[in-house]
Amino acid sequence: MKSMKQLMKKGLALAPLSLVLLLSGCELAVLDPKGPVAQTQYDLIMYSIIFMLFIVVVVFGAFAFMVIRYRENRPGRKESDYDPHMHGNNLIEIVWTVIPFVIVIALSIPTVDSLFELEKPPEAAAGEEQKEPLVIYATTADWKWFFSYPEENIETVNYLHIPTDRPIEFKLSSADAMTALWIPRLGGQKYNMAGMENTLYLQADEEGVYDGRNSNFNGEGFTKQTFEVYAESEEDYNSWVEETQSSAPELSQEEYDELLKPGLTVEAEYSSTHLEFVDHGTNEGRDYAIERHYDLYGDLMHLYSDQDAEDFMDEENDDDHESSVE
């Protein structure tokens, strides 16, 4: 039992270290940043992990030493190994108070620094011109995403396109429950709330398709409230915008109200935005959905893991983007 325990403790001490080494090789979403915001957060996380590993190594080392050396029946124990009346030591107690304090200071400085930095659009790399942020209103309703591009006058449901190397200014709000917009490879999350507007800056440096989702629990359809981000070059993005403007239908208020009903829905695009009827991020817009669909929120979809929006569209059997509510 004894030796097994020591082995365990040593193993425990090494496990985090080896795992970090191991995992820096593979691509955990948060540790695989594809834009400056995620990069800032990645740098901060890596910086903090060094301190944390230091603390873990020191404490685990001291712990292993004590437990091994001061066991009652360690062979070769000496009289001098036992001092029941030792009650403290001012010097060492001051040392081990000051060191954590210094570590906290060392962690606070870059934290505060990055907090202020993340409130602004990411700065362009040296030598490149600073581009105006692209404004996208990201609105949630149980359990879907609306992305409205006011400048371009288009709106998408459950996916979005963004140009690379240009800051995106998300205006976050919700039609009903509180949610959060999170695209791990582009940066951390922020809440969407009804009746108020949050601003979140993100940016993609590399082209690609990134997973995004609502990360704040908001009821039955939460798990399926995901979307895809298509980050593409300026030209590709522009041609996508033009195509959407010319080929997608306009969004009528009736259709939008229908979409606001709690439920899952498939991807869609429109050549106008819902901001014309309502901005859920304002105090006037906060009860828009609740007023219209109050009685529907209690209904269940009976959602199982292998189902997604399509399964619920079939039931309705029309190509309106209606959600299914029993």
Partner: protein, 645 residues
């Protein structure tokens, strides 16, 4: 309301649950009747005001709740092991993570610790009971009825499904109609009365009822941590009470405090919840720190290193715990300045916490470690908790928290602190004080098996969750994508390891009841340092025949050196004790039915039972029961037989 709306229908798991609840109830009723135990149950337990018996009832209930919460956990882990599992659907999963979280924090962790406090604190300070024994019984019944109310939602009416945090507007009447969320509100409200009363009770007990001459800075460290915890309870619980009351008004009476309509402020709930919620997590960790300190000193056979620093660290942590609540919603967009302030205050908590860790290591330095099961739980706590602590600091760095928040990284953090802290402490403390409570030890060999299963299972279960969180897996999803599968399978295996550990622990209790040697001395481990070990085992109902004067820390070490006991025949005097009473259980029973009425919005029922409860309070106000005296001869007889004189 139709009967099929009243009972939850359509789920095989729930039918299974109903059948097993019915069977267990019938079995208990049968056994009680067959062995003619009803009178005994009523006289000895249901009407008792003895802190030791109340403590035992707390701990038994907490173990039952640990079982319930554990079954929830297993079901979630099964569902999450593989992508596309259809073991639970989304709605069922939501209900289960909600009840799991609420049960574990409110109905398991807190009552378990309060149970240990109940039994041990009066013994540690040389008191004969709580300051207010009647109130103590009231607290227990309020907790138990609150817990039962919450738990019957499983079969009647439907469980709450908005998370243990119950954020509005999701948890409001519009988006969560029906009785489910009301069960949460009323269950917590009812048991909250008891918690608050216990806080006041313990505070007064510790401040006013210490043995003659025992100074504050001579109190055992578990008593200290209990005192500070009581202060946190008294300051934090009223916030919860108010928040719950406001949400109840919203849901049942159509008020608009947290609604989207009518200028309500949904975000205010998050603020109020965490102004209580963060102190709450310290309510469940500080007593755990106290337990570890006692166990480590005892089995290291050494005085606590840096006693004063330990006490001040607890006080500092308690103070800071009220200044960090915003770290639970850094992502709400309060701005860089607010987040900076709360980041720094959050990380500052790590300093006194670190001091405590180093002081425990200092206590181990030049010690003589005896490897008992209680000590193993305490030792396993140190490295495990450090992992939880450092990741807590990472979460405290707000700009990094934007990436960790709402993910399994966070889930791993709080399970590392709550399980390696609170749960290990409950096991450690229970094993350590078991002989004092039940007159025999728990079997050490079986105890070690349960320890290893649980501790290894715990790390296997939760360590991978840090990484799956970094890979973008949010908390509260009911199914996973294939990328997250390997780590989730490992996690599920670990969870079953913990389940096995718990099962072995329960087996250990049954086995030891039957086979363990009965205790002959009061100082079961031979290394007791504090006053509880000075009492004989079983502890007489009045605890101390005579109260020794205390002039040092580790009072019992000194008594042993001087050859003194808590039975000095020449100093015996009659002891004043309170009478048993059935009022607390009846009063709380009425409030239980009143709450049940509110849950279903049956106002006639709520009002009728509320009036009944008020009448009980009036009855209590005119209650002139002064208790009774235990005569000197009787004390002599009890002490002589208990001490084998």
């Amino acid at each position: 309301m139709q009967l099929d709306e009243f009972f939850v229908t359509g789920e095989p798991l729930i039918y299974g649950g109903m059948v097993s609840i019915a069977l267990v109830t019938i079995a208990i009723l049968f056994i009680l009747t067959y062995f003619k135990k009803w009178g005994w149950l009523w006289r000895e337990w249901l009407t008792t005001v003895d802190h030791k018996k109340i403590g035992v009832m707390y701990i038994l209930s907490a173990l039952a709740m640990l079982f319930r919460g554990g079954v929830d956990a297993m079901m979630m882990r099964v569902q999450l092991a593989f992508p596309n599992m259809n073991f639970l659907n989304a709605q069922h999963y939501d209900e289960i993570f909600t009840t799991h979280g609420t049960v574990m924090i409110i109905f398991m962790a807190m009552p378990f610790l309060i149970g240990l406090m109940n039994i041990i604190v009066p013994l540690q300070i040389g008191a004969r009971d709580f300051a207010f024994p009647y109130l103590n019984a009231l607290s227990f019944w309020s907790f138990l009825f609150g817990a039962m109310l919450f738990n019957i939602s499983f079969v009647i009416g439907g469980s709450p499904d908005a998370g243990w945090t119950s954020y509005t507007p999701l948890a409001g009447a519009a988006m969560s109609p029906g009785p489910g969320q009301n069960f949460y509100l009323m269950g917590l409200q009812l048991s909250g009365i008891g918690t608050l009363a216990t806080g006041i009770n313990l505070m007064v007990t510790i401040l006013k009822m210490r043995a003659p001459k025992m100074k504050m800075f001579q109190m055992p460290i578990f008593t200290w941590s209990t005192l500070i915890t009581s202060f946190i309870i008294v300051f934090a619980f009223p916030i919860l009470t108010v928040a719950l009351a406001l949400m109840t008004l919203d849901r049942i009476f159509g008020a608009q405090f947290f609604t989207l309509t009518g200028e309500g402020m949904p975000m205010m709930w998050a603020n109020l919840f965490w102004m209580w919620g963060h102190p709450e997590v310290y309510i469940v960790i500080l007593p755990a720190f106290g337990i570890f300190s006692e166990v480590i000193c005892t089995f290291a056979r050494k005085q606590l290193f840096g006693y004063k620093a330990m006490v001040w660290a607890i006080i500092l942590i308690a103070g800071l715990s009220f200044l960090v609540w915003v770290h639970h919603f850094f992502t709400m967009g309060a701005g860089a300045f607010v987040n900076s302030v709360f980041s720094i205050s959050t990380m500052l908590i790590a300093v006194p916490t670190g001091v405590k860790i180093f002081n425990w290591l200092g206590t181990l330095y030049k010690s003589k470690i005896k490897n008992t099961v209680a000590m193993m739980w305490a030792l396993a706590f140190i490295p495990s908790f450090v992992i939880g602590g450092v990741t807590g600091v990472m979460l405290g760095m707000a700009s990094a928290d934007y990436q960790f928040h709402n993910t399994y990284f966070l889930v791993a953090h709080f399970h590392y602190v709550l399980i390696a802290g609170t749960v290990f402490a409950c096991f450690s403390g229970l094993v350590f004080w078991y002989p004092k409570m039940f007159g025999h030890k728990l079997n050490e060999r079986i105890g070690k098996w349960s320890f290893w299963f649980f501790v290894i299972g715990f790390h296997v279960c939760f360590f991978p969750q840090y990484f799956v969180g970094l890979d973008g897996m949010p908390r509260r999803v009911f199914t996973i994508i294939p990328e997250w599968m390997p780590l989730n399978i490992i996690s599920t295996i670990g969870a079953f390891g913990m389940g096995a550990g718990f099962a072995i622990f329960v087996f250990c209790i049954l086995y030891s009841y039957r086979y363990s040697e009965r205790e002959k001395s009061g100082d079961s481990w031979g290394d007791g340092r504090t006053l509880e070990w000075a009492t004989p085992t079983p502890v007489p109902f009045y605890n101390f025949a005579t109260l020794p004067e205390i002039d040092s820390q580790d009072a019992y070490v000194k008594l042993k050196e001087e050859g003194r006991t808590t039975f000095e025949e020449d100093k015996l005097e009659p002891i004043h004790m309170p009478n048993n009473t059935g009022q607390p259980i009846i009063m709380m029973g009425f409030l239980f039915f009143a709450s049940f009425g509110l849950v279903f919005e049956w106002m006639w029922m709520a009002i009728a039972f509320l009036i009944a409860g008020l009448i009980m309070m009036v009855v209590r106000s005119f209650d002139y029961d002064e208790g009774y005296h235990v005569e000197v001869d009787e004390i002599k007889r009890i002490e002589r037989s208990a001490r084998g004189l």
